[in-house]
């Protein structure tokens, strides 16, 4: 038994421990980086933060990706991945437009509900193929990524839905602010808080981590692995569906190519945010902060005058850097724990 173990640390040292964990956590590190980037951008251009438009864009731009990244994080935590969420977003975004055109006067809430539901069904297809078909998620969702995209391309063709096709009230939601906070940001934060609570404080949420951490052990523990994995995909799909509706409200213009490549941004955001690509660890908070970091950097680089190529390279470097950092930290921790064991 290792020598440095203890059962009940007194209250004070526990508070200290909590504070130290919080300071050392990935989430905190990313928030600090985000703050630094905003500070630099604001120093270069005051209006980045201190203008109505700047403040709104700062909050509004990452909102949709945050919702998708939360879904992707849940799927990745179970040691799976969903590449089809970008295509799902395109389907529900186009569906949103079509619903307003084909059923004039349809209640907005009903459209939101239908969009989310369709996303959930597309997620269910992925989840069922992965859980029952025993096919790796990477392969299944690579396939459905093309199938879903193909479906929306066939459905929409070269047709484009414009802002004028959708009700003013709906479009207003996309830019509306409550106490200077955009509505879409509020939605994203609500999604984040609910998902964060679920993952950290309920049995089914914790089981997501367990399944991703060691699938064999999950089986021996008698956890409902199949059902949980399907749930993760349904949730990922539903959030991508919701993101599609948000996309329609935010941009007003929808074509079949909406959300192309967003699946990689969502996965990238989760990885940057400390969600281990092999499952079992990380949090949706990290993923959401990762999304904010990714898109804030994207907006900052042009301000500093960095050319387009480097903007993409920076995103790539961030992802690789995050993974290398994770590997390094976990190898170091493993080594330390092992050496401590040998000494006893």
């Amino acid at each position: 038994m290792s020598a440095d173990t203890r059962t009940a640390p007194d209250r004070q040292s526990r508070t200290l421990q909590t504070a130290r964990t919080l300071l050392a956590s990935r989430e905190t590190a990313i928030v600090i980086v985000i703050v630094v980037i905003i500070a630099v951008a604001t120093a270069m251009n005051q209006s980045f933060l201190f203008s109505g438009q700047g403040w709104r864009d700062l909050l509004l731009t990452p909102s949709i990706l945050m919702v998708m990244a939360v879904g992707s994080a849940v799927v990745i935590i179970t040691r799976n991945v969903d590449l089809s969420v970008g295509s799902t977003l395109a389907i529900t975004a186009y569906l949103t437009g079509r619903l307003f055109i084909d059923f004039p006067g349809i209640p907005i809430l009903l459209v939101v509900f239908i969009g989310t539901l369709v996303g959930a069904v597309l997620g269910l297809i992925n989840g069922a193929l992965v859980a029952y078909g025993k096919v790796p998620a990477l392969v299944v969702t690579l396939g459905t990524m093309y199938i879903y995209r193909g479906a929306v391309l066939t459905w929409a063709g070269s047709d484009r839905i414009n802002a004028s096709d959708m009700p003013r009230d709906f479009l207003h939601l996309g830019t509306m602010q409550i106490l200077s906070i955009p509505l879409l940001t509020i939605v994203a934060v609500l999604v984040l808080v609910c998902a964060g609570y679920w993952l950290s404080s309920t049995r089914s949420g914790r089981e997501m981590y367990a399944i991703g951490s060691e699938p064999e052990a999950a089986k021996l523990y008698g956890l409902p692995t199949t059902r949980r994995v399907i749930t993760a995909f349904i949730l990922g799909g539903a959030l991508a569906g919701l993101a599609g509706v948000m996309y329609a409200a935010r941009y007003g213009t929808i074509s079949a190519s909406a959300g192309m490549g967003w699946e990689f941004q969502a996965i990238g955001a989760a990885v940057i945010g400390g969600v281990a690509i092999f499952g079992g660890s990380g949090s949706v908070w990290g993923a959401a902060f990762g999304a904010i970091l990714l898109l804030t950097i994207n907006r900052t680089l042009p301000i500093i005058g960095i050319p387009d190529f480097w903007q993409r390279a920076v995103v790539g470097a961030l992802i690789i850097g995050a993974i290398v950092l994770d590997r390094y930290l976990s190898a170091r921790r493993h080594r330390q724990l092992q050496e401590a064991r040998d000494q006893t």
Partner: protein
């Protein structure tokens, strides 16, 4: 004991389980009464683990009677068995490395307050209470990753206690525990027995069985042999019941002339795995590497072959130093390693027999960089014949062959490289008795032809029957070097558990 008053907790009669053509369990029978600790003994491969897995809901039995607490039972999943009140501590702990110690204990059964929220405080208190009962101090918040096997085992036991089970099954729980920890485990087991629970205890250590258990059931070759109260049997009687056949038939070892030193390992170290390993193997010699599961035998073999790197030390083959961490260099130098897990590491099971046999000599087979099926078949044919691989064609996929034939193919693949040293890890695991003898005859013949063989085996009779010399590994160190004539089961087991014994004596003093 209350054996005659209440119905047994567990009753198995004639339970049968087969996997494809291999019969893992032919006649599993055991009756466990409440308030009793029941030992289940037998050699490796006797079917104990399969029997346990049937009870735990991991396997479904093919036929036979299975009653739990007086009612017929058939569990389709581990969750069902668990809910019925069966807790199993497996030989190798299976935990969630990313989750905390507390979460590992309660996963799937966390205490909840209103609205389904996990009551983390209640969970921690309960965990602290269980650990206090076990007399263990362990940081409940730390992740399970990096915990020693002993600590992981403690978590498994805590899990079983928190389940409040009617039946507790322990599959070699002491294999990796030190003396103090074993004593603590026994104290817990006795207090659970006194609460009227049934306990099944699997162990290879007779001293533990005689001090802890009140009943003993012996199994051999997948079948029930006998059940006897501990007080009415002896060590020797148990061994006779366990082995029950003439060892000589199964281990046809011819004495071969011993030649020059082929493999020489000096001072090999790898933090966390093994320390100060010195060993040598001569031409024509079979050296057995014995020890408990997890003692570091496979790790040593993998380091010698270069699959894993090591911290310090040297490996020399035929007098030349073999660079570390490079299997390709080891193969060129004349080494071959037939790994423990043939399905995962030894074979490409989807590929044909011929392709598997040719796999390690692809460079030699290729003509202008191309390999044709014809060349492969021409090379593989003689090997398949020589090793008596039973298959309809060389193009047959390895996946459809029996375990014994797969093992022969895995060996043939390496023999085709014409090695001077063959390292073979668990040569007969999961193989039926007939094929076992064939594999043993093959090893004996290879040694006779002057090959040096390093054989790792958890089956004591196999080591004693086949090896010219037995090296015992205990907790990552070579704890004994015994000649064939000196090697007895007692000496090997003693050396394998020497440090356990020592600390146990310290604990009781």
């Amino acid at each position: 004991m209350t054996r005659d008053e209440s119905p047994p907790v567990l009753e198995l009669v004639g339970v049968r389980k087969t996997f494809g053509s291999v019969t893992a369990l032919a006649d599993g029978s055991i009756t466990v009464h409440p308030g009793s600790i029941h030992a289940l003994v037998g050699e490796n491969g006797a079917g104990k683990s399969t029997l346990i897995k049937v009870v735990a809901g991991l396997h479904r039995r093919d036929s036979g009677t299975f009653r739990f607490r007086g009612a017929d039972a058939a569990f389709n999943s581990t969750a069902e068995a668990k809910n019925a009140g069966i807790a199993v501590i497996y030989q190798e702990p299976t935990l969630f490395p990313d989750l905390s110690v507390t979460e590992n204990i309660f996963m799937g059964r966390q205490p909840r307050s209103r609205a389904g929220r996990i009551d983390k405080q209640a969970m921690h208190q309960e965990a602290a209470r269980i650990f206090a009962r076990l007399g263990v101090t362990l940081d409940l918040q730390r992740p399970a990753e990096g915990l020693s096997i002993a600590d992981q085992q403690i978590i498994e036991i805590a899990k079983a206690i928190s389940l409040d089970a009617h039946l507790l099954i322990m599959d070699e729980p002491t294999a990796a525990l030190s003396g103090v920890e074993v004593e603590r485990l026994f104290a817990v087991a006795r207090s659970l027995r006194d609460e009227g629970r049934g306990i099944v205890f699997i162990s290879h250590r007779f001293d533990e069985i005689f001090s802890l258990c009140d009943m003993i059931t012996v199994m051999r070759d997948g079948a029930y042999v006998a059940t006897t109260p501990t007080s009415e049997t002896s060590n020797d009687e148990l061994v006779t019941m366990m082995v029950g056949r003439e060892v000589a038939d199964l281990y046809p070892k011819d004495l071969a002339p011993i030649g020059e030193v082929v493999l020489e390992v000096k001072n090999l170290n790898s933090a966390g795995n093994f320390h100060d390993v010195d060993l040598s193997v001569r031409a024509g010699e079979i050296v057995g590497l014995a020890g408990l599961v997890g003692a570091g035998r496979s790790e040593i073999a993998r380091a010698i072959f270069g699959v894993d790197s090591y911290d310090s030390g040297t490996v020399r083959l035929n007098g030349r130093t073999v660079p570390k961490g490079r299997p390709a260099a080891a193969i060129r130098a004349g080494m071959a390693l037939v790994p423990e897990d043939r399905r995962q590491q030894g074979l490409v099971v989807e590929a044909s027999l011929a392709r598997n046999i040719g796999a390690a000599i692809r460079r030699r087979l290729s003509r202008f960089g191309l390999i044709t099926a014809g060349i492969e078949n021409k090379t593989a044919g003689p090997w398949a014949g020589r090793l008596q691989v039973k298959s309809s064609a060389l193009s047959m996929s390895a996946a459809t062959m029996s375990g014994g034939n797969q093992q022969k193919v895995a060996i043939a693949k390496w023999l085709a490289t014409d090695p001077s040293l063959l390292i073979i890890d668990e040569p007969t695991r999961g193989i039926d008795v007939g094929t076992k003898a064939e594999v043993h005859r093959l090893l004996s013949r290879l040694a006779g032809e002057g090959m040096a063989i390093l054989m790792i085996s958890s089956e004591l009779p196999e080591v004693l029957g086949m090896a010219d010399r037995v090296l015992v590994v205990g907790e990552g160190r070579i704890s004994a070097d015994l000649d064939r004539a000196d090697a007895t089961p007692e000496k090997v087991m003693h050396a394998a558990t020497a440090r356990h014994e020592q600390s146990r004596q310290e604990a009781s003093a």
